[in-house]
């Protein structure tokens, strides 16, 4: 069930985080469930909610919006070596 909270991509309250929902950029009122992607090689998990701020990817950045030049912060492989995982 998607609950219409007023959340933003950069919010960090833990309640909001645990909900895993943020408003999409266009604010059309549709809610987006944050996803996680796992590196097939080393097991690192990219969580859209947390992003990868150490490498310039802000919290809340969706997988599709990560540049192709980004690589796994733990083992260095390409974006293509990740797959979506269930939460």
């Amino acid at each position: 069930m998607l609950i219409p909270f007023k959340l933003t991509a950069h919010s960090n309250s833990s309640a909001e985080k645990s909900m895993g929902y943020v408003l999409p950029e266009n604010q059309t009122g549709q809610y987006y469930q944050m996803k996680k992607y796992q590196c097939n090689i080393c097991g690192f998990i990219y969580d859209e909610l947390l992003g990868d701020p150490a490498h310039g990817i802000a919290a809340g950045t969706r997988w599709e919006d990560i540049p192709e030049s980004w690589s796994c912060p733990e083992c260095g492989v390409n974006k293509a070596d990740f797959e979506m995982v269930e939460i």
């Binding site: 090689i41 080393c42 690589s71 796994c72 733990e74 083992c75 260095g76 492989v77 293509a80």
Partner: protein, 383 residues
């Protein structure tokens, strides 16, 4: 002032320890000593770099200077550790210097096994186990068309797929009757073979190489059945052997690898090992995922909280796009049998003991979709 933590090696294992340590503490001095350039790169990307359009240079994510700044560590590249003096807790470097350590981490990797072969071309046989080897290979490959690969294991099959998908003529020779002989039951091996043959790989199974000769224009392999394979480059990928000499010379316990307990601790309490060089509780696992787990545990231990490493099941993805494959081999010595289901779209092979417990699997083609579901049913590798 206390002595630094010294990490030997700048592969994925050395960097993983440095990074995990920095997550836990910023006030311990860390020095990394490495025989190579010291850049951080993904070794697994070497075996699909042609298909993904990568050059050896573009595979390196950060050079030693950038990494040292990012992790707030000191890196001495192109420097070998020649000896370890365990009683004085110091190491001797190839530049003649000595360095004391509070804790020493050996992350020195493995060597490619070299088969004892005959012929005038033996010294020209290449192996690829790091980005420098790979750079040399790509330079040699530039004006060539044919590559012969000795060994149809993980690395051999991945390079075979990458080369043949990008237009090279590829021959693969292996002593076993199928590709990935140690990881796949026969039906699964046959499926992978068929898929790789469909992209042009030419297999020579049940065969060893008798000699490798070099002429002005080409190289030639003579196989045990008398068959001759003409080629331009010979790549050997018949297995890895952990680098144990440094540890052995220092009097540390070694076996197949540098022997460590679940704390990744060698027979000397201040010296640790992980990655391709280490034998953790009897297991040598030359893959990335074990490194991730080991580095996390070791960093905690080095930061003051002794933490044994735990390995969950760790399926390995084989990077053969012609036939997507995931393997979780059963531990050797475990009794059980393979059950194989296949259709035109893939193969699902599960290894079960006689109580029906899942101990390993191999998934090919569409069956790889079952990876996560099956992985949760596997026993942990070390707990």
């Amino acid at each position: 002032m206390s002595q630094p933590i010294v990490i030997v090696g700048s592969g994925l294992a050395g960097y993983a320890v440095a990074r995990e340590l920095r997550r836990l503490t910023t006030d311990k001095a860390v020095v990394m000593i490495t025989a190579d350039h010291g850049g951080f790169y993904s070794k697994p990307m070497l075996s699909n770099a042609l298909s993904t359009g990568k050059t050896p240079e573009s595979i390196i994510n950060g050079d030693a200077e950038k990494m040292a700044a990012q992790l707030d560590i000191t890196i001495h590249s192109h420097t070998r550790v020649e000896a370890v003096d365990t009683s004085n807790q110091s190491i001797e470097l190839s530049n003649g210097e000595r360095l004391s350590y509070s804790a020493l981490v050996m992350a020195i990797g493995a060597d490619q096994v070299r088969l004892p072969l005959q012929g005038s071309g033996v010294s020209k046989i290449l192996t690829i186990n790091d980005v420098d080897d790979y750079k040399y290979f790509r330079d040699v490959l530039a004006d060539k068309k044919r590559v012969a690969i000795i060994g149809a294991g993980l690395i051999g099959c991945e390079f075979a797929n990458d080369l043949s998908a990008t237009g090279y003529q590829v021959d693969v020779i292996d002593i076993s009757p199928q590709p990935l002989g140690r990881l796949l039951p026969p039906e699964a091996g046959a499926y992978l073979q068929k898929k790789l043959e469909a992209v042009g790989v030419n297999f020579h199974f049940n065969m060893t190489v008798e000699s490798v000769d070099q002429s002005d224009t080409m190289m030639q392999l003579k196989l045990t059945n008398g068959e001759k394979v003409d080629t331009d480059i010979v790549l050997s990928s018949v297995g890895l052997t952990p680098r144990i000499n440094l540890a052995k010379k220092a009097g540390l316990l070694v076996n197949r690898g540098i022997v460590v307990n679940q704390l990744l601790q060698t027979s000397d309490e201040n010296i640790f090992a992980l990655g391709d060089c280490a034998e953790v509780e009897g297991k040598v696992l030359p893959f990335v995922m074990p490194i991730t787990h080991a580095a996390r545990a070791l960093a905690a231990t080095l930061a003051g909280k002794p933490t044994p490493v735990v390995y969950p099941a760790m399926p390995v993805l084989v990077k053969t796009p012609a036939c997507p494959t995931v393997v979780a081999p059963p531990e050797s010595g475990h009794a059980g049998e393979w059950r194989v289901e296949s259709n035109g779209e893939g193969v699902k092979a599960v290894f079960q003991n006689n109580s029906g417990n899942l101990l390993g699997f191999a998934l090919l083609g569409q069956a790889t979709a079952m990876k996560n579901e099956l992985a949760t049913k596997l026993p942990p590798i070390l707990n």
